[in-house]
Amino acid sequence: MTSRWGRVAGVGCILALVGVFIVGGQFVGLTAPFSGSAWETVDRPDSVTVENPYGEATVTYNERGVPTIDAENERALAYATGYVQARDRLYQMDLVRRLMGGRLAAAFGERAVESDKFHRRMGFEDAAEATWRRLNGTEHGDKLEAYSAGVNRYIETRPLPLEFKLNDYEPARWEPVDTLLVGQQISWGLSGSFADLRRETIADKLPRAGPLYPRRLDHDATIIDADRPGHDWQPPSRTDGESVQAVYESVRQFDTQTGLGSNNWAVSGEFTESGEPILANDPHLTLTAPPVWYEMRLESPEGNVSGAGFAGIPFVIIGANDDLSWGVTNVGADVTDAYTYEWRDGQYLYEGEYRDPETTTETIRVSDGENVEVTVERTVHGPVLERENQTVAIAWTGLTATTQSRAIDDLSSADTLSQFEDALRQFDLPAQNFVAVDRDGGTLYYPAGKFPIRTIDGEAVPGDRVFNGSAGHGEWAGFDPYGQSNWTGFVDFGAIPHLDDPGYVSTANQRVVDDPGFYMGTSMDFASPYRGMRINELLAARTANGSVTREDVVAIQRDTRSVAAERFVPQVLNATDEMTPEARQAAQRLADWDYRMDRDSRAALVFHLWLDRFRNETFADEYNANGLGDSYHPRYWVLQNLPADSRWFDDVRTAGVESRDDIAARTMQWVVEEIDREGYETYGDYNTVDIDHQFPVGFLDYPERPTDGSPFTVRNFRVGASPVGSSYRFVVSESGSIAVLPGGNSGNYLSDHYGDQFDLWRNGEYRPFPTGADGSPTITFEEAEGAS
């Protein structure tokens, strides 16, 4: 018999249960053991069979979660790739298409509205649709459709990643345009630039700073080095109507630009110990969780290819097939222009008449908020934006139908360097420094992409300015925004400086060549040459006796010696007379330093903090007073080469006149205080890699750990809230190819491969490059009955 107390307890329990379900009911189904939807993406050791409308395929994951996808034909391969990428990276894929399509706010609310407005105004999705109109019905288009079907098969039948459940939304169906949007995202990140507007802003607010942004940095460490055997590129003589030479004559200098960079180099068998070529590549992009790159191996009767691509794209972008290996770095070419107009009553002047901009109103859906309407305007040149207090129209080579996707597809199937070069003809953006080697030891360097020729009154002009759109200045002939361009006003592929069989060649985003024969970009586009100089120094030493090994190449990729430190440290040591005793003591640490940015180095810590602050101490007094933040500061290469008595070292806020020594000494005093305040012991206390997931839930982030390298070292790492560094390192060699990702190949937090390469990466270690299936398939695709 239940006592009165027992009945009271029973009622209490019922009330407690009701309370639990009212307060946290939605979390029960999410977090309960076994059945909780949060745990559905755990890598179960079972295998599944999936119907594939295009044919048979198998997916076998290796010990690092890298899939080998083997299919009986190309479309079956694309379908299986879609399924597999959705399994491993669906949330990342959805995030990218939302970003580029201007649909983030529908999932993330008001904080994403400004981003959506920008992406809607730019019309990236319209450009992707223009590309799809071109590809639809082609063999390549069929692959994109098969890939989309594979993604959708996963979405419809398998558990969604944890992030969707935490944010309580579901992904829409994947379409081929979404794949093209992923390509748009990486292209815009690497080649979309408002440098022209930045330059104009500086000119307006601080005119005398102009010389700090030269068209060409004063160095001779170009990619194509005329003094090196095999680097004897000459502009071809031209017989067609468009005068590339005229463009070249109008270009006086080239220069550099902040942003994302990369390293790659190729060494032919002539210089290696084994007689086989070796290729290395490490693209420097924002470090994210999961990583930007997705590694895979694709096998079909057409051939096999291993390497990395982007989730959402069914092709390997950098890697190796049975005959070739290749890698890329960003050229940094200027392929974005801005145009201003005379406006009157909402119309813009063009070709002598006032025209209405093409105007549409789009609705941005906002999760948990009011929908927002955005007006999208376009002129004949492109989308209208308001930036830096200017209303401008933007032209970017990605805002038209492109053949980038098809080019990437064709690169994978090239059997010879000649076929590879042919595939590059279609690679329109983002302009990339391709290096490639073949099994026979042949090498190739080609900065492929579309380079616009700007003209004013028929004369070719550089693109480092905001053009008068009303007067028709700087237009790109043959470019049709959101349409099908014929590219007549762009540099011929054959006229682009390149090297066939250079022996060895390296690229690190520096200026391609002194005289390319046309306008390619300025110092705001090309990187400082620090990394390039170091790579060439090491390659020259190792190729001198013709016995380069894979280990040599790995040592170069891991190299932490800073050429920037070599150049700046003498300036520090020259200023010790102006320093306090404690600052002088800190500076003396640099005297015997080997310039290596290693985590256990105290000198590296002192130098890094000093350099960071030194630029600010030099320029901030006048830049800040004119409303220009530190993002406007000139390049370190420019700072390095300022004379000791440059007026930029004078602090205009003081009565006296400061020199470089004064500023260097003042900066070192700050460094001493900073180190004391923060309790830093070595560089690794400061130089930590802290990679966050884009979904703001702490446990999805990778752990914060010390690492080596700096923005100026071959082993590239830029510490910060959004760290940048080697987003994928790989070395292809006959003696064993190796690679590493800054995290893991799976985007599923509960997978064993979510972050299993993180420590390898931060410690400069590698694991084998995927070379084929070993073991039983995890996923088997069987041809669906009735499928064609």
Partner: protein, 116 residues
């Protein structure tokens, strides 16, 4: 004896009779299996434990045992696939998972035992 009386007598035999431990073990296993299939198994298992428990206190205690056992078996399954460490790092999700696992069967058992 009325039908209700026979049911009550049978219930009491299960709760305090010679086979009380056996009955508790059987429903414990049923609850464990049900919990592995769906989260409502935590409630069902708890309710069954309440039905066979000799007191409210014992009912809630065995409910806690069930929840802990479910967590233990789930943990073992995560060890097998190398995901235990990730599970233990999920912060609020882990707290909710543990809380629901232990709380739901305990409260369900207490409610059933207290009112029957």
């Amino acid at each position: 004896m009325s039908t209700r009386g026979r049911v009550v007598a049978a219930r009491d035999r299960v709760r305090v009779g010679d086979r009380a431990e056996l009955a508790a073990s059987v429903v414990f296993l049923v609850g464990l299996l049900a919990s592995a299939v769906h989260w409502s198994g935590l409630l069902v298992g708890g309710a069954l434990l309440g039905l066979v428990a000799s007191s409210v206190r014992r009912a809630m205690l065995t409910g806690v045992y069930l929840g802990v056992s479910v967590l233990f078996v789930f943990g073992v399954s995560l060890v097998v696939v190398g995901a235990l460490s990730a599970y233990l790092s999920t912060g609020v999700l882990l707290l909710a998972s543990v809380g629901f696992s232990v709380g739901l069967p305990a409260l369900a058992a207490g409610a059933v035992r207290g009112l029957t």
